[in-house]
Symmetry: C2
Subunit: 399 residues, 2 copies
């Protein structure tokens, strides 16, 4: 064909990180069909949906079976019952939102990637290491990207100074991605750290895209939402998800908060996102919206806390093993992720191959999350208790 293609796709790594991990595991399995490979890699949950959720979903399926209660197209931004449930959820953190500021969707990944469509060419600041979707979605649009190093020196919590140092000059009107608790490092911003970013964004006319997908893992006095910070409603969008909170990775429900007051070049970001979603999205399935509403009820939140507590115990088991073997790591307390420094100065893919070959344990190489991830490695606490314990026994033998 003679059509012109989006050349930016040539800039993308050929394989999405997790596809390359899967490929190497498949190769190993083919060579060692008898091996029992244990995964502490992909950030996928293993416990079933909360009972209150499946009960609500089953009832909604019943409704879809009867002409009197059947539902067709949902409002693109979500039914009021769900938006109200999300609004109430934020009240727990002392954050007051209007339902018109909340947009339910099928995934934080979709939203965080699709948001870029609203903007023109801007400097895009992305932490390194971080969840690869921020970078790839911006690369697809040919954006200029600056990486903000998250290193041991800054406790994996870079502030505005790290951005200006990386850039070499002052910032004006940038798009800044933040993820806290962080994927992959497990680091979490305190109030002061997050306030420094909000103040910086306001001073430089920048927009923060805040990914709070792991907020349910917070136990200490850390902000669950960027809107707990004064002034954030003037400079931030937040993307949240039920994937890790309520085990929705295969059920799909998330939301994005776009404050009414956000404006640039005379355009309202809230209106633009509404226009984007009504044009390119048809809403979350009714059955899923009822499940999400249930997950955010008092009973649902109580059940979700049990899920999270289970994964947190797994994290504790992994953390003890690493401590015992003298492997340096961060994370694992306010987050499902543990971020290791590869022992013996190994590269992160070398350490990946070593763990796979010697222990048949799969983790995720830090280099896959950015160049500052090289020499590091991510383990997750989302496995079953049994898998976690057995994987740790094997790690104990080889580390």
């Amino acid at each position: 064909m003679k059509i012109r293609m989006n050349d930016n796709y040539r800039l993308l790594e050929k394989n999405y990180l997790f596809s390359e991990v899967a490929r190497r595991v498949a190769c190993y399995r083919e060579a060692h069909p008898e091996a029992r490979v244990l995964r502490l890699s992909v950030g996928d949950v293993t416990l079933p949906l909360p009972t209150v959720v499946t009960r609500a979903m089953a009832a909604a399926v019943e409704e879809m079976a009867s002409e009197e209660t059947f539902r067709g197209y949902a409002p693109e931004a979500g039914y009021d019952f769900l938006l109200e449930a999300i609004r109430s959820y934020y009240l727990r953190f002392g954050v007051e939102l209007a339902t018109s500021e909340i947009f339910a969707s099928d995934g934080a990944k979709s939203d965080v990637a699709n948001l870029s469509e609203l903007f023109g060419q801007n400097l895009v600041a992305i932490p390194d290491p971080v969840y690869p979707v921020y970078l790839d979605s911006n690369r697809m649009l040919g954006r200029e990207v600056v990486f903000v190093p998250a290193t041991e020196e800054n406790d994996y919590l870079p502030g505005p100074v790290a951005l200006e140092d990386a850039l070499g000059h002052a910032v004006e009107g940038a798009i800044i991605y933040l993820c806290s608790p962080n994927n992959p490092t497990g680091a979490v911003y305190g109030r002061a750290g997050l306030a420094a970013w909000v103040d910086f964004a306001r001073a430089t006319g920048s927009l923060i895209i805040f990914d709070s997908a792991y907020e349910a893992f917070i136990t200490g006095d850390f902000p669950h939402s960027i809107f707990e910070i004064e002034g954030a409603e003037e400079c931030a969008i937040e993307v949240a998800s039920l994937s890790k909170t309520a085990g929705f990775t295969g059920t799909r429900c998330s939301w994005t908060v776009v404050p009414e007051g956000l404006e640039a070049e005379g355009l309202s970001l809230n209106e633009m996102w509404l226009r984007r979603q009504t044009t390119k999205f048809n809403g979350v399935p009714y059955v899923v919206q009822r499940g999400a509403e249930a997950a955010l009820s008092d009973e649902g939140i109580a059940e979700c806390r049990e899920l999270v507590a289970y994964y947190r115990e797994n994290a504790q088991i992994i953390a003890s093993t690493l401590e015992e073997r003298g492997v340096a790591f961060t994370g694992g307390t306010q987050s499902p992720y543990l971020w290791l420094t590869c022992p013996g100065g190994l590269g992160s893919w070398e350490f990946f191959d070593l763990l796979l070959e010697k222990a048949q344990v799969v983790g995720t190489p830090g280099a896959g999350f950015g160049s500052f991830g090289e020499g590091h490695f991510r383990l997750t606490s989302f496995g079953s208790r049994e898998t976690t314990i057995e994987a740790c026994e094997r790690l104990r033998c080889i580390l």
Copy 2:
């Protein structure tokens, strides 16, 4: 904020067509709270999901409640069981696909809009009138658009000549949108008409994006899929949906077929779409995929045919009314839509207001689908039998 925004949003009409319809209806209702307004407007279904579908969804909800059968992240392009069901469905039309060419998604609207991201600047050819999403999604990317008039003269089925006439010069490497059976005109391409487009696309290096969302309404000898036409696998992508086939408007499952061989500028469209979907999408909910699989089983297809037959009878009732009152129209036989010429030379929003005020019947103004839709009006057969009959009685009185 000082960030630069996507200026193309300024080119969009302020209101999505159906939002403006809703606004006028709400105004009318406020002024006439006693009125019983009947809708023959939005293309939303009213009959419940097929029994086989809700049974499968209920079983899948059960699976999500138990640790042994719980499912986390789905493959972004869909589980094999669903891709196999879609592959088998195409065999009914004599079309053989590889499952790697099928990408399940949450909606034809999402896919048809998101596909534009794969391309650079090309001439984009869009029928007029047509489903507004083709235009809006291209406007958001600042694409150059040429409208291909669908008029009474070409039986609302424009061919390549209409495109070249509208453009005033030869075409090279365009993106061409086709929708058959058409929304809003109800016109459907025969094999020769569609083959003319395929031949033209191959000769000019163009790509056809074919929207087959209404194929289940075809009863005569018309192609259900563009891949029934020889050579289409070299020049076409097809977007299909269960929304109208199986009543999935509030359940959300569609798919896009991107043939392996499609290539431009050395890039494989199939690989690019896979990269787009793995980066920006997390798959269709497991529960919904099981429902979709059931809808495409023999039992499911039999139930779907009953749904479609019901709507087709509604279309026949509306058609008889229009014939009786001497109103010119097309569609309604291979499609859920009837496309009227507004009587008395009225403009389409004038006719909208007239129907609303005199008969409390809501339809969709043709002008909302493009400038060649002016003077026309869309009625749909998706209402209940009772609504359809009562609306027709009222129309009989005022037409």
